[in-house]
């Protein structure tokens, strides 16, 4: 037994539970753009998982082919691919933490270790590095993302537990050509300094404004109280968030 297998074993997570959870996700997600991501670590018998990221090819407008990362077989639906993976590849080295994550309305099928946090996966496996890692223990707030519309510290959420949730990161807020009104307000007012806390601040502000479109100054401060800013950009940030409603 390898060290990693011991880790999985010690957490008491069985293969069945992984698949059950993943299955639920598959059953509820709409077909959209889907990415397959292979984890880079572990798996001494499995060379396939060491391949680079594969994006599923869209064959024609409106149709999507789901390609098995192990044998390149094509399927029409994600659940068909999942069935195939379980039936054909589970015994031949497919890692047990195969999950689907819905991040910014993109579906990612990937393998995770049970101790990987959502922050780690977002940054290092999905390449969504707007989410920062400042303390990795739920104190600084720079890794704040939205999970089903609510703010969470992604360093305190296991990737496994993020299955079936709708995750939003700063990357999903705008198309990078047009800024979201929150981003625009921060931009116009120069409401940041070094910018390391900014992604978390924006996500906290989004959760606030989604639920309370016209917050008071006190409510803005409370909503941002989980986001530390040591440069002290607080003053301009609060002004900027208060300025968002007139832009919406």
């Amino acid at each position: 037994m390898t060290e990693k297998e011991k880790l999985i074993g010690s957490k008491g997570i069985s293969r069945r539970e992984f698949l059950k959870d993943a299955g639920i996700v598959v059953g509820t997600t709409a077909v959209g753009s889907v990415f397959l991501v292979s984890a880079c670590s572990g798996g001494e018998t499995n060379t396939v998982t060491k391949t680079t990221t594969q994006t599923i090819t869209k064959t024609q407008a409106g149709t999507t082919a789901y390609i098995c990362p192990y044998d390149n077989q094509e399927f029409d639906t994600l659940s068909a691919l999942k069935d195939h993976l379980e039936a054909v590849h589970m015994g031949t080295g497919v890692r047990e933490g195969l999950i689907v994550l819905n991040v910014n309305d993109d579906q990612y099928l990937l393998e995770v270790d049970p101790d990987w946090t959502l922050a780690f996966v977002l940054r290092n496996k999905l390449g969504l590095t707007a989410t920062k890692e400042g303390c990795n223990m739920g104190e600084c707030g720079t890794c704040t993302v939205l999970m089903d519309g609510k703010t969470v510290y992604s360093c305190l959420v296991l990737a496994l537990d993020a299955q079936g949730k709708h995750i939003q990161t700063l990357e999903g807020l705008s198309d990078e050509i047009t800024l979201h009104p929150i981003q625009q307000a921060l931009y116009d007012l120069g409401a940041h300094q070094c910018g390391y806390c900014t992604p978390g601040v924006i996500m906290s502000a989004k959760a606030l404004l989604d639920n309370n479109p016209n917050p008071t100054r006190e409510q803005v401060r409370e909503a941002l109280s989980g986001n530390l800013c040591i440069c002290g950009a607080n003053k301009k940030v609060v002004e900027a968030i208060l300025d968002v409603p007139r832009r919406l």
Binding site: T2, E3, K4, C40, G42, E44, T52, D113, D115, W116, F120, R123, N124, G127, T129, A130, T131, K132, E133, G134, C135, N136, M137, E139, C140, T142, T169, L170, S174, E176, L179, Q183, Q184, L186, Y187, D188, G190, H192, Q193, C194, G195, Y196, C197, T198, I202, V220, R221, L224, N227, L228, C229, I230, C231, G232, A233, K235, K236, V237, V238, E239
Partner: protein, 752 residues
């Protein structure tokens, strides 16, 4: 003499790098997606003082996923003798950070425990355990300095007070981005992404430690998540480089919060025994001080006397003809100390202005009036050397702070005002002349500038400094645009913090970047303009570039401004590209503006004043900030939004330093009890009441800085004694050490 500027200080000018920040695209070191990247974790020493006798890393190396382990045998920043709890003993590179952390537990180390002292009061005593590696023992004395006749000064004083103030807190910078680096090797060349306040000096540091020639070190420092001095010497980049060499793969050394809080540089702690003599009218006639500086296990730069720096502050902060000081540097088994938003400024000012406040009370004088009366004047200059100041506006800063907070109507004798809700009202003020914010021209700190002009007539400047908080890169775009005649929107920051592409930008240390780099971009602007005008001469059918001028990206004939061409009309048909360059020196000395004789040397100083109004709950000891004004002299504001942001940030840090920041050590076992944000609390958005805080920028027009500018990064946080003075004014009892926790207030009030 009001000068008009086209670009400088305009509120509508946006940060050139803001878009990257609000979209999350600003690339901080650990954001670089490198396939096959490994992650490093550090094994910390479990004792405050120990020697490593033997390390067995074989079990860790055998663990699946682990690719390399380094120790003092092959990593030059690790030493056999560990001088503080948590110091780097070994580092593991593995395929994921959890594996690396698990592997640390498999490293077997045999230590020889050595006697230790984490308390400076203990370390100073005769017969105390030898803390570190100083040959002279635990204490290094900073020799006595004297000016005037101190004994005669005290003899003529009407009132003499003697006070002991301190210790000020020993604390970390609390940067949200921990120290973070990625390194990988291609042949014998190393690529490094790291968060650095000083990319070029960092490259030199790597060369010095690793013996790699600088042209084979490709260092990029783009996003840097809070510097505050901590990221000037980021030793852990060496761990990434060593492990990358051993594995042949990219290695990320993104410190965990705990690793960072223990192994990053700290702000030193200090204490002072001070004596002051005054005439009855408030004139200071003599001062004497003994400063003690707890510098931890090592100080940066090595050999730097922190006590000496404190004395330097003491000698120049207020007018005083007779002064004597001595200083003691004390080493303790605590993490290394370094720069924290200046070194001696904030704690030194806390000590000195606490003394000033006590003297004002003793005299029965208004503390603001007392400070104004003894404030350093422009004519006085340096009181030891007589060298004049290139600007001196401490009086103005204090007056503005007093005016904005309504000092005249609010100040009262200490402990005499109770609010209707039963809380105690207090108000305090503080002013500081800081030895920071000046032009730095010694090797590693000077600056060059490059501007490339594109075919469509836009200027792209490459700036050799990283993106830290204040937006200095954007400030340089302002300076270049103002000097060259380009419109602000026609200037872009191209690359920055990249040692291969940019010219040396020196370091964002000592608040020196604006005054130093601005000289380079000023000269670069002039050079670019001269080249463009020369290229334009034949297009206008003229003989000399002197007949042309460039304003708002338009070249025109001086004698007939209607005859004009856009810059793009010149550059579009230009075979040789226009490449402007400049250096920080010779600087744009404004001696003509100020009518200074040529060749007069001058000292540049930073200035800051703060006024604070508080309500203290006598039952809980809780302090509420009711009003806080922070006034900083920018000399000349270049990039308004950036300068405002820096100054606003000063408000938060001043509160944090007085009320919160401290690393607490258990002196019985030498361990730090709060290497995290939860127990070492930082101000949150709920603690910092932004709309009660006001930042004011004052422009004194410095005689040496380009366009009159100087640096403000460190001066903005200096006046935290204002918060402490306000608390003393509320409760009427002195509290001599920061941070001022509620329990200290309750104790002072006799409640616990």
């Amino acid at each position: 003499m009001a000068e008009e500027f086209r670009v400088l200080g305009k509120p509508e000018n946006l940060d050139k790098q803001s878009y990257l920040i609000v979209t999350g695209k600003m690339d901080f070191s650990a954001d670089h997606p490198l396939p096959g990247k490994l992650y490093a974790r550090i094994l910390g020493c479990p004792y405050p003082h120990a020697r490593v006798l033997n390390i067995d890393t074989s079990k860790a190396e055998a663990m699946e996923g682990v690719e390399a382990v380094c120790t003092h045998a092959d990593c030059p920043i690790m030493v056999e003798e560990k001088l503080y709890w948590g110091q780097e003993v070994a580092a593991v590179a593995a395929t994921d950070p959890h594996i690396a952390a698990t592997a640390l537990e498999l490293i077997e180390v045999e230590y020889e425990e050595l006697p230790f002292a984490t308390d400076p009061e203990v370390a100073m005593q005769d017969g105390a355990p030898l803390v570190g590696t100083w040959p002279s023992g635990n204490v290094v004395v900073n020799e006595t300095n004297e000016r005037g006749d101190v004994d005669a000064g005290f003899a003529e004083a009407d009132i003499v007070i003697e006070e002991t103030v301190g210790w000020t807190p020993y604390h970390q910078h609390n940067n949200i981005e921990p120290r973070s680096s990625i390194a990988y090797w291609v042949g014998d060349e190393v690529y490094v992404w790291t968060c650095s306040q000083n990319p070029f000096n960092h490259r030199t540091l790597i060369r010095t430690i690793m013996g790699i020639p600088e042209h084979k070190i490709h260092l990029i420092s783009h996003g840097t998540g809070v510097g505050s001095g901590d990221k000037t010497t980021q030793e852990q980049v060496i761990i990434a480089i060593v492990l990358a060499k051993k594995t042949g793969k990219p290695v990320e050394m993104h410190l965990s919060r705990r690793e960072h809080m223990l192994n990053a540089r700290h702000q030193f702690a200090c204490k002072a025994i001070m004596k002051m003599g005054c005439k009855n009218d408030g004139t200071i006639v003599a001062m004497e001080s003994e400063f003690y500086a707890d510098v931890g296990s090592d100080v940066d730069p090595p050999g730097m006397s922190r006590a000496g720096s404190l004395n330097g502050e003491f000698r120049q902060n207020y007018k005083c003809p007779n002064l004597r000081d001595i200083g003691y540097n004390v080493t303790t088994n605590k993490p290394r100390t370094g720069y924290y938003r200046c070194v001696e400024g904030p704690p030194g000012n806390f000590l000195i202005d606490s003394l000033m406040e006590r003297m004002a009370v003793e005299l029965g004088m208004d503390p603001l009036e007392f400070r104004l009366m003894n404030a350093v004047t422009p004519e006085l200059g340096n009181q030891d050397s007589g060298m004049p100041y290139s600007s001196m506006a401490i009086k103005e800063c204090l007056e503005i702070a007093g005016d904005r907070i309504g000092w005249a109507n609010k100040w009262h004798a200490p402990g005499t005002k109770t609010l209707s809700d039963g809380r105690l009202h207090g108000i305090g003020i503080d002013g500081a002349v800081v030895d920071k914010g000046a032009i730095m021209l010694f090797p590693g700190f000077g600056s060059g500038a490059i501007a490339n002009v594109s075919a469509d007539g836009k200027a792209i400047i490459n700036v050799g400094i990283s993106r830290v908080a204040g937006g200095t890169n954007t400030a340089m775009a302002h300076v270049f645009a103002e000097a060259s005649g380009f419109k602000y929107e026609d200037v872009q920051v191209g690359e920055w913090g990249n040692t291969d592409v940019c010219s040396a930008g020196g370091g964002q240390n000592g608040s020196s970047r604006c005054p130093t780099c601005s000289g380079a971009y000023y000269n670069c602007g002039l050079d670019t303009k001269a080249q463009l005008l020369t290229a334009a001469v034949p297009r206008f059918g003229l003989q000399s570039a002197d007949e042309l001028d460039l304003v708002d990206s338009v070249i025109f004939v001086k004698a007939n401004p209607q005859e004009k061409k856009n810059v793009s009309e010149i550059t579009a048909t230009q075979a040789n590209p226009i490449i402007g360059r400049g250096y920080a020196w010779p600087a744009n000395l404004r001696r003509d503006v100020h009518q200074w004789p040529a060749g007069t040397p001058a000292l540049m100083k930073g200035m800051n004043a703060a006024a604070v109004e508080v309500a203290v709950d006598p039952e809980t000891g809780e302090v509420e900030i009711l009003n806080h004004v922070n006034v900083t002299d920018t000399g000349r504001t270049l990039f308004l939004k950036g300068a405002e942001g820096q100054n606003d940030g000063g408000l938060l840090i001043e509160q944090a330093q007085t009320l919160m920041y401290e690393q607490i050590y258990d002196h019985t076992n030498g361990k730090c009890l709060n290497p995290d944000f939860l127990n070492n609390k930082c101000p949150t958005y709920m603690d910092f009441i932004d709309d009660r805080c006001e930042g004011v920028l004052y422009e004194s027009d410095d005689a040496c800085g380009a366009f009159g500018c100087k640096g403000i990064g460190e001066p903005v946080i200096t006046c935290y004694a204002a918060v402490a003075n306000a608390i003393n004014n509320a409760i009427g009892v002195w509290i001599n050490d920061a941070p001022i926790y509620p329990q200290k207030i309750l104790k002072a009030l006799g409640k616990v």
